[in-house]
């Protein structure tokens, strides 16, 4: 453990020197996104921990916290776990990915399509 002289949990969060760019018109959106992404990251961590427990149980029939801490996946397991993270990230980023796809073609509003189908 770190010495009592440093509250490492708070110091881990220290701000880097240099004015932070504001990405959204409302600064509270910048804050909300930083909280959301931290949460997104922590869910990935929980998922990976569950996967570790499952793999240890499958192999050993029991599990200890020490086993979890020292677990190292073999290349195949590492790839499977990485693929799970990627799938998870793509699910989270669905809206952004769809924004990207939407840029590829200019689409009329569905109201317009609706009028067209009504009249044809």
């Amino acid at each position: 453990m770190s010495g009592d002289d440093i509250d490492w949990m708070l110091r881990a969060n220290a701000k880097a020197k240099g004015k932070r760019p504001q990405y959204f018109d409302d600064p509270s959106l910048d804050r909300m996104l930083s909280m959301l992404m931290a949460l997104v990251g922590e869910v990935a961590v929980l998922r990976e921990r569950t996967d570790t427990i499952e793999r240890l149980l499958e192999k050993n029939g029991s599990v200890s916290r020490a086993d979890i801490e020292s677990y190292e996946p073999d290349p195949e397991a590492a790839f499977e776990r990485g693929a799970v993270i990627r799938e998870y990230i793509t699910r989270i980023m669905r809206g952004v990915q769809q924004d990207l796809e939407a840029m590829k073609e200019s689409e009329p509003p569905v109201e317009e399509v609706s009028r067209e189908l009504r009249d044809n």
Binding site: M1, S2, G3, D5, I6, W8, M9, R11, A12, N13, A14, K15, A16, K17, G18, R20, P21, Y23, F24, D30, L33, S34, M37, A38, G41, A44, V45, E48, R49, T52, I68, E69, Y71, E72, P73, P75, A78, F79, R81, G82, A83, I85, R86, I89, T90, M93, V96, Q97, D99, L100, M103, K104
Partner: protein, 407 residues
């Protein structure tokens, strides 16, 4: 999905003698970030160019009646685009999370890390710290890479937190592209020089702006008889870097706290090879020419000067590419990045004393254990500014100085 779309696991990162011990969840945080970075650059990154071409550029033309004149005009226009703003916000958060995740892992075990470093550092004359060396403005103006405290910060006097945090998170930022010891750049130098000059053994190498020495150690290990001098202004990074090098068996490397703008403690022609690896962009407009000029002075006739950087912004590089390569300058606290890449480094080397025909440029790609770590691609989608392949700007100093001889 291809195999290379998945980042290697954090457990494959090599743990040398002072590397922070990751807990299960700490490794998992870096696994998440490495894959998030791959996704942000590989999948969502191309959307920036699409936004530029489909709507930002047409709107700019409509408003101004012309095309953007430089990367700054593109940046101003793109910073109003919803897609680019959201992508930038995600990427900025990923950088901030990398720092938070690294620091929380390092600071909770700082006593142990300081203790390990002390074992490797105490009583060794290969670590020379000089507290009178001040941190230059270009290192202190902002915290580079959004690393709280940058390379020189301390949580308490004499600690190694800055170096340990830098070391443990390079994996996440580059999604493993620099290999198990994050030394793919240094290993690439070794591979390059062995092909370029088979059998050449430099007597002395000077590597400047080395931070934790990750790219200097491969040189020291490859040339065991060579005296390697590794300098930086940041004592906390040097303390960590020296301990790290010692634990990896690189004993022929001396870490010296010094500012490369003044190398007067070393005589003219002292080194056979002077090297910077991804350092010059962290200096300043006035410091860079002074550094190159000092390096020229301490370089022996017949010796090699080599600078590894991302490619300079030449006239042939499209303005959009210049703009996207500039992202880190303004969003990841690299304040000299933009101006530095607009310099003609070859011109700077000529001003320092080389003749134009001494100069060469070449491409260098990170050398990694590619059974586990991704091999940098030479083409296709890249994470601009972080790709593990560089341009090398180099020169061999003439064995005899013909101009001087003729005078």
């Amino acid at each position: 999905m291809k195999r290379e779309d998945i980042a290697p696991p954090y457990t494959a990162v090599a743990r040398h003698g002072v590397f922070p011990e990751p807990r299960h969840d700490e490794a998992a945080r870096f696994n998440f970030l490495a894959n998030l970075n791959k996704y942000l650059s590989g999948v969502l990154g191309p959307g920036n160019q699409m936004a530029y071409e489909r709507r930002v550029l047409p709107a700019f033309r409509k408003e101004h009646g012309r095309d953007p004149q430089d990367r700054f005009e593109i940046r101003a226009a793109m910073n109003r685009d919803a897609y680019h703003r959201f992508w930038s916000a995600l990427k900025r958060n990923s950088m901030e999370m990398r720092q938070q995740n690294g620091r929380s892992m390092v600071l909770r075990q700082l006593d142990e890390l300081d203790g390990k470093a002390r074992q490797y550092n105490e009583g060794r004359d290969t670590l020379e710290l000089h507290p009178e060396v001040t941190v230059p403005r270009y290192q202190a103006a902002v915290d580079i890479h959004c690393m709280p405290g940058s390379y020189h910060g301390e949580e308490r006097p004499g600690d190694v937190s800055a170096g340990a945090n830098y070391d443990c998170g390079i994996f996440a930022t580059t999604a493993g592209g620099l290999g198990a010891l994050s030394d793919g750049g240094g290993q690439a130098l070794v591979e390059w020089v062995r092909k370029e000059r088979p059998g050449w053994v430099p007597r002395r190498i000077l590597d400047i702006g080395v931070t934790i020495g990750h790219n200097a150690v491969p040189l020291a290990l490859a040339f065991a008889e060579t005296e390697v001098t590794a300098i930086d202004t940041a004592a906390p990074s040097l303390r960590y870097g020296h301990a790290r090098a010692q634990s990896l068996g690189a004993r022929n490397i001396r870490f010296v706290q010094a500012n490369a703008e003044d190398l007067s403690r070393w005589p003219q022609g002292h080194f056979d090879w002077v090297q910077t690896t991804m350092f010059l962009h962290e200096t300043s407009g006035k410091a860079l020419p002074r550094i190159i000029s000092e390096l020229y002075r301490v370089l022996a006739p017949g010796g090699l000067m080599l600078h590894l950087e991302q490619p300079q912004y030449s006239e042939s590089m499209p303005l959009y590419e210049q703009f996207i390569r500039d992202w880190d300058a303004f969003n990841n606290n690299e304040p000299f990045w933009s101006a530095m890449h607009a310099l003609d480094l070859k011109e700077e080397m000529v001003k320092a004393g080389f003749s134009r025909d001494d100069l060469f440029t070449t491409g260098v790609t990170a050398v990694v254990d590619d059974a586990i770590f991704p091999k940098a691609k030479q083409d296709g989608a890249e994470d601009h500014g972080r790709a593990a392949s560089w341009h090398a700007y180099g020169a061999w100093k003439k064995a005899e100085a013909p101009r001087a001889a003729a005078e």
